[in-house]
Amino acid sequence: MPPEFIDLPQGTLDLLILRTLSLQSMHGWAVSERIQQISSDVLRVQQGSLYPALHRLERRGWIKAHWGTSENNRKAKFYELTKTGRRQLEFEREAWEKLSVAVTQILEMP
């Protein structure tokens, strides 16, 4: 029996974060909630990997952070995609699609 939710494969977390942030800027908790929601609770992001990933992306210059006010009126750290981040997202999306097509082909071998 497959588990209720799936741990993210190595390397895909960055792609998911970039994609999530491409819609609007949001804070870390919202990112994890959004991923979980959209994937219908299949994908669950561990905080232990989410925050280091956010800080890593910020360091690479793909996202940038600013402090703002959250939906519940608290001070929170919001992340948004930068221009290079957008390019990186396109690049990673293509790479992912190629990969998944290739994997699917192999799995559907007669």
Partner: protein, 872 residues
């Protein structure tokens, strides 16, 4: 890439707010998550629990975020440093103990290393010192000049002999040290004068102009550093010399000190011409590319040629060249290396104590460490943190050690061991600082790592258990502690053994009978200038009159001799005995030759064993008389009656002037207490007039030692001749002390190191027992409540300590047997494995260590059982 760099940079400068932001960001997440669970109907407590569980270790996440942001090594070190600094300041007693312990160990090491650095490692103060050689044996000027002319290995060579000269400046006549040199010496050493010029080869001839080059100190002290000194004249021993140069401040001869430099040919022509007056130290500069083997080979050939040409005097030359540095440091090297090794052991002992202090601190901070570890701090981070702390402490210890070393080196200089006399100071150069930095760093890392490893996360479970049940101690920690204590005791024992052996040797040396009674004997040196006292009668008149006046002083007995016992210098002459086949010329035995006047033997209390003392009738024109020592009889006249035998100096041409042995006196140590006695021949001043017999050392025995006596003697001398300087004023006791100064220096230093090591080891074992007692208070309370006797409790507490003491002493003894062999050259008549000494120091250390166990154990007995039981 640029972005990455700027980002990292900003992180470093904004690290404070970055940390805060990270904190806030994570807290926000948690709170948001809790809110979510509450909204879904959970109780707040459950929501909090669940959110926290999901989140995992906050510290761990923070650490990974920091890593992700690229908070690099620098950042972590800065953070750890700040943390260490704060936590060290919070426990000043611990910090002070640790820093002091290390300051002593590192300071002592630095002091000795500074000396080793100056003496053994620093380059000699001459250009291209690697080209410079020294001859082991002194030589005469004619030989030196022949070699200079007939060899090709050397670019230059020169000789020097220090003689005292009388200087008549302002005030009292003074004795100064004149360097009698040949013109080759300056170019060989290669140091240019600061003012003027060197003595040229053209001036360095018999009858050449009287010129002098001054040392910096002499120029400063007597001519007020006058820049117009060149061309002025200086009166030396009755002659005027024109100043032609001044040497720079840091110039010095390799082994000796000189106030001024004159040509030997000009100032002392009679000695310069004598091939067998071999009194010059010679220095040689090899041409670039020539090896010492080649140079030595050429000199050996040259020796053979000289032996052929001058068979009478030069048959046994055996000139042997050594690099100048080896020649200078040859006799200090073993002592310095032994001291360096000893002080290294002291450092190890203080490092062990340092490690134990860190361990004790780790125990005291167990809760803090546990909390950090359960919050997710990684094993590596905990170790890094503790290493930062120990290194910080070690560095502070090193800095304090520099202060200790500075004081230590000035103390070493104040002790004035002869071998170090050519040094005015021991500068701390870059190499010394590098040394301090290196050993501090090493100490902090290595000795910080030992306890740090035993106090990390893997031990959390142990730690928890320990808090629950205080009567057990971590196994690995107690093993490490036992290991350190055993090591400390072993090293302390090795040092004690070394000091004990030196002490025994020193006592043996001091108990050597010098052959005379030094009590209340004052000595001073004077010399009759050749210009005014050319012949025996005028000299005899002066001497007789002076002694008469001195003996007239109340309670005073005075006499004189050419060279004092223990002063280390004397004149040697080759000897023939009447009626014996003469050995080949140049191979006759050499004996010590001394002149005396007055009741020398009675003043010095040297026993007359046979025959008679000199009489006032043994004077010029009368049959020559001689008194010999026991060793002379033992060596040359064994089994014969020495009285009446005739002896003379080996001569080439003139007919023998036989001296008749009239008496035999006891042996006197002339070269030092640890040196064998040479055969000696004493003759009366009034029957000899060689130049060196114008040297005189007054020996004056009084009822009580008194400074006033010196002034009385000066007055009497100057009432006879106001231009004769008096120098080397010292008591015979002082001379005796000086003659063993080097041994005392070694003993004192090794003694201090041993005392330091024993103290530190005692503190270490005391600390261990005290710590264990405090951990077992509860247990002790139970025992005592159950009726245990104080004896039983003491036994229980001291058992472990005593076991360690015994183990340490056994290992130390084994180490001592191996290591003390290295110091055999420093010992006088003591075997390096002297069983009595080893046993003695082992007992001493055992007593100290057992006492160090007993005191804290004893304290446990005063605990009231009820208090002890309640103490948890």
């Amino acid at each position: 890439m640029l972005h990455d760099f700027l980002f990292r940079l900003r992180t470093i400068f904004r690290r404070h707010s970055a940390e805060q932001e990270l904190d806030e960001e994570l807290r926000f997440h948690l709170e948001r998550q809790i809110e979510k669970y509450v909204a879904s109907g959970m109780s707040r407590a459950d929501a909090t629990r669940r959110a926290r569980l999901e989140f995992g270790g906050v510290e761990q996440v923070k650490g990974e975020c920091r890593d992700a942001r690229g908070i690099g090594a620098v950042e972590i070190i800065l953070m750890d440093l700040r943390y260490s600094f704060r936590s060290l300041l919070r426990s000043p007693a611990f910090t002070l103990c640790a820093v002091l312990t290390l300051a002593l160990g590192i300071g002592a090491n630095t002091a000795i290393f500074t000396v080793v650095n100056s003496v053994l490692l620093n380059p000699l103060p001459y250009p291209h010192p690697e080209e410079l050689l020294a001859a082991r044996k002194n030589d005469s000027l004619p030989n030196l000049q022949d070699v200079q002319r007939q060899t090709t290995s050397f670019s230059s060579s020169g000789g020097v002999n220090i003689e005292t000269m009388d200087f008549l400046g302002a005030g009292e006549p003074m004795r100064v040290h004149g360097a009698f040199i040949d013109a080759g010496l300056f170019p060989t050493l290669g140091v240019e004068p600061m003012l003027g010029r060197w003595i040229s080869p053209a001036e360095d001839v018999k009858g050449g102009p009287r010129t002098v080059v001054l040392s910096y100190a002499f120029w400063r002290d007597h001519f007020g550093s006058s820049p117009r000194i060149l061309g002025k004249t200086v009166n030396l021993s009755g002659n005027d010399y024109a100043v032609i140069g001044v040497m720079p401040r840091d110039f010095g001869l390799p082994k000796q000190t000189a106030d001024l430099f004159v040509s030997l040919w000009v100032a002392y022509p009679s000695a310069a011409a004598e091939r067998d007056v071999q009194f010059m130290h010679t220095y040689w500069r090899m041409k670039p590319g020539v090896t010492i083997t080649q140079a030595q080979a050429e000199l050996t050939q040259m020796d053979a040629r000289l032996a052929e040409q001058f068979p009478d005097t030069e048959k046994e030359r055996h000139t042997s060249l050594v690099p100048l540095r080896d020649w200078l440091v040859g006799n200090v090297r073993p002592a310095l290396l032994v001291l360096l090794g000893a002080v290294g052991l002291v450092l190890l002992v203080s490092c062990s104590n340092f490690a134990m202090l860190l361990m004790a601190r780790a125990v005291a901070r167990q809760r803090e460490l546990m909390v950090r570890a359960s919050l997710g701090a990684s094993n590596r981070r905990l170790i890094e943190q503790r290493l930062t702390e120990s290194t910080l402490l070690a560095m502070a210890g090193g800095a304090a050690g520099l202060v200790v070393a500075k004081i230590g080196t000035s103390l070493l200089l104040a002790l004035k061991p002869e071998a170090l006399q050519r040094f005015q100071s021991f500068p701390m150069d870059a190499r010394v600082f590098a040394f301090v930095f290196a050993i501090s760093l090493l100490t902090g890392l290595v000795f910080g790592l030992l306890p740090a490893r035993s106090a990390t996360r893997s031990n959390i479970a142990d730690s928890l258990r320990e808090t629950a049940n205080t009567s057990t101690t971590g196994v690995s920690r107690s093993f490490l502690q036992s290991f350190l204590i055993t090591g400390e005791l072993a090293m302390a024992l090795i040092l004690l053994a070394g000091a004990g052996l030196l002490m025994k040797g020193f006592l043996r040396l001091r108990s050597v009978d010098p052959g005379f009674n030094p009590a209340n004997v004052m000595t001073m040196y004077l010399q009759l200038p050749e210009t005014r006292y050319p012949k025996i009668p005028s000299q005899t008149n002066f001497r007789r009159e002076l002694l008469a006046r001195l003996n007239a002083l109340p309670g005073v007995k005075a006499a004189m001799i050419t060279d004092l016992p223990l002063a280390g210098n004397f004149v040697g002459h080759r000897l023939v005995i009447d009626g014996r086949p003469a050995p080949d010329p140049g191979t006759e035995p050499e004996v010590q030759t001394l002149s005396v006047m007055g009741d020398y033997f009675r003043v010095m209390e040297i026993p007359l064993l046979a025959g008679r003392d000199f009489l006032s009738t043994d004077r010029e024109g009368q049959p020559l008389a001689a008194v010999v020592n026991q060793e002379f009889v033992r060596e040359f006249l064994r089994g014969e009656n020495p009285i009446g035998q005739r002896i003379d100096w080996a001569r080439r041409d003139e007919p023998h002037e036989w001296m008749t042995i009239v008496g035999v006196v006891g042996d006197v140590k002339h070269s030092g207490l640890n040196q064998p006695v040479d055969p000696a021949v004493y003759s009366p001043y009034s029957q000899n007039d060689e130049a060196w017999r114008r040297w005189m050392t007054l020996v004056i025995k009084s009822q009580t030692p008194s400074a006033a006596l010196v002034e009385d003697v000066k007055k009497q001398v100057w009432s006879l001749d106001s231009q004769i300087p008096l120098s080397d004023i010292q008591s015979m006791d002082d001379l005796l002390a000086v003659s063993v100064a080097e041994q005392r220096f070694n003993l004192l230093l090794l003694g201090i190191f041993a005392a330091l090591a024993v103290t530190l080891a005692a503190v270490g074992i005391y600390g261990m027992i005290a710590y264990r007692v405090s951990r077992r208070t509860h247990e002790i309370g139970v025992y005592m409540a159950l009726g245990a006797q104080p004896r039983d409790v003491l036994q229980l507490l001291m058992k472990d300590g005593i076991k360690l003491v015994l183990r340490g002493i056994v290992i130390g003894l084994a180490g001592a047997v191996i290591l003390t062999r290295l110091m055999v050259s420093l010992l006088f008549e003591v075997k390096p494995t002297d069983p009595a000494t080893l046993l003695g120091v082992a007992l001493l250390l055992a007593a100290v260590a057992v006492l160090a166990c007993y005191i804290p154990a004893r304290r446990a007995l005063s605990i009231h059982p009820m208090t002890a039981l309640r103490c948890e």
